[in-house]
């Protein structure tokens, strides 16, 4: 359990969160970045590292990963610190107006200003639309496999057709008493090797493979005991099961931030374009996660938002000082 002290806590270490360190650093404000992903760069690193970006001012073409590396170098003089691979769960305000953020691993960050640069939000499991499904979460229904031993000698139904559905079917076939894989289609788009193995396991009778089959319902008495489906002929059926593991990929959601009392509009945080402040004093939102009239989800717009945010955040970090704006061409970049 780590405890961190900083001026500004930045949630999200994508390009906009990283550049915010630079703009804050020019005003002598220290930053700590927190990201649910295990590395910096956000979408750029996670989703399209090799893709060229053409609309960064002054850079006719740059690979996403190279832009992240450049930003890392640009902010290095301001010695940012990082908590990576942890999701921010809680935000509480202290009596003196400062904030304490807590993460999924119980790290706490004490700061004067919170900047949400969360991009798409955090990626959470996509849930099938099945009545009462949520009632069985933790009582037989789980969307991820943390400890495969949980399933030893149990009857497991996996639903889905992607790589993770295939991989876990193969793995759990050697652990569970019985594994049934339910997939909507006749074939798998996942890795051909994995698909072949699944078909082989089915031919050998080591798993039950139900193609062209759709999940319909979960059944049980407080705890899951069966999964209902419709087969390729639209005929209903059911499988006795101790566990249902729907593996339908991850979908970006706002996550715990949605419960912080911020004004939201369609999964985005509403801000004032004067300084990109949210409705909660001392909390700002910049980059893809915010919304305002005319919002464009562009990295360059996020950079602009970071600059204006920093000018405004100064009053929370140095309430007794007057802010005087200085150009880097005149003043240089004074490292910490």
């Amino acid at each position: 359990m780590e405890r961190i002290e900083t001026d500004i806590a930045i949630i999200g270490a994508g390009p906009v969160g990283l550049f915010a360190v630079f703009e804050a650093g020019l005003l002598k404000m220290r930053c700590h970045l927190i990201d649910a992903l295990p590395q910096i760069g956000g979408q750029l690193t996670e989703i399209y590292p090799k893709k060229p970006i053409y609309d960064i001012p002054g850079l006719p073409e740059i690979n996403a990963q190279d832009l992240v590396e450049n930003l890392r170098q640009q902010i290095a003089p301001f010695k940012p610190t990082f908590t990576l691979g942890e999701r921010v769960d809680g935000l509480t305000r202290q009596a003196d107006g400062s904030f304490i953020l807590t993460t999924s691993d119980a790290t706490t960050v004490h700061c004067k200003v919170v900047v949400i640069a969360g991009g798409l939000g955090c990626f959470e499991p996509r849930k099938p639309e099945i009545q009462d499904l949520e009632r069985y979460e933790g009582r037989g229904v789980s969307y991820m496999i943390k400890d495969p031993e949980t399933f030893r000698n149990k009857r497991v139904v996996i639903a889905g057709g992607g790589d993770s559905a295939l991989d876990w079917t193969i793995y759990l076939s050697g652990v569970a008493e019985k594994v049934t894989l339910i997939h909507r289609n006749e074939s798998f788009r996942g890795a051909p090797d994995s698909a072949e193995k699944v078909f082989l396991l089915a031919r050998e009778g080591k798993i039950d493979l139900m193609l062209a089959t759709n999940l319909q319902a979960v059944q049980g008495n407080g705890v899951l005991n069966a999964v209902a489906f419709t087969d390729r002929n639209k005929q209903p059926g059911q499988i006795d099961a101790d566990y249902l593991i729907p593996l339908f990929g991850l979908s970006p959601r706002l996550g715990p931030i949605a419960g912080w009392g911020l004004s939201l509009d369609k999964n985005a945080i509403q801000v004032n374009t004067l300084d990109y402040a949210t409705n909660v004093s001392g909390v700002y939102a910049i980059g893809d996660i915010n919304t305002y009239p005319g919002k464009l989800k562009l990295i360059l717009c996020g950079f602009h938002e970071a600059a204006l945010m920093a000018q405004s955040a100064f009053k929370f970090v140095y309430p007794d000082q007057k802010l005087s704006f200085k150009y880097t061409t005149v003043n240089g970049v004074n490292a910490f």
Binding site: L120, G121, R126, G162, R184, P246, F248, N267
Partner: protein, 103 residues
């Protein structure tokens, strides 16, 4: 102008008319028409919040790219005519199509 129909999750159906050369995706037109399409990823076939079922006119669309097909394959409520609106460019081939919003 081309016209097609959109049905929202409440079952309300509306006719949409747009210039053929508007150079937008269906997702962008849906957003501009005030449908509650989140389009969280901004059109990169990553979030599937613009998932639509093409009930009429599916044959005119051409096959999805691998990225789109892979994403659709992970969706629990996908059908054989599911597509991501962000990957469908507006054009004459959408004339008389019917899109059902799935998210």
């Amino acid at each position: 102008m081309i016209t097609f129909q959109v049905q929202d999750r409440q079952g309300d159906r509306r006719t949409i008319e747009v210039p053929e050369d508007i150079n937008l995706t269906l997702m962008e037109v849906l957003k501009a028409s005030d449908y509650p399409v989140l389009a969280t990823c901004g059109g990169m076939a990553l979030c599937a919040t613009c998932h639509v079922e093409v009930q009429q006119g599916h044959a005119h669309l051409g096959p999805p790219t691998d990225a789109e097909g892979d994403m659709i394959d992970t969706l629990p409520n996908a059908t054989h005519t599911s597509r991501l609106a962000c990957q469908i460019r507006i054009g004459g081939h959408l004339e008389n199509a019917l899109f059902i919003l799935m998210e």
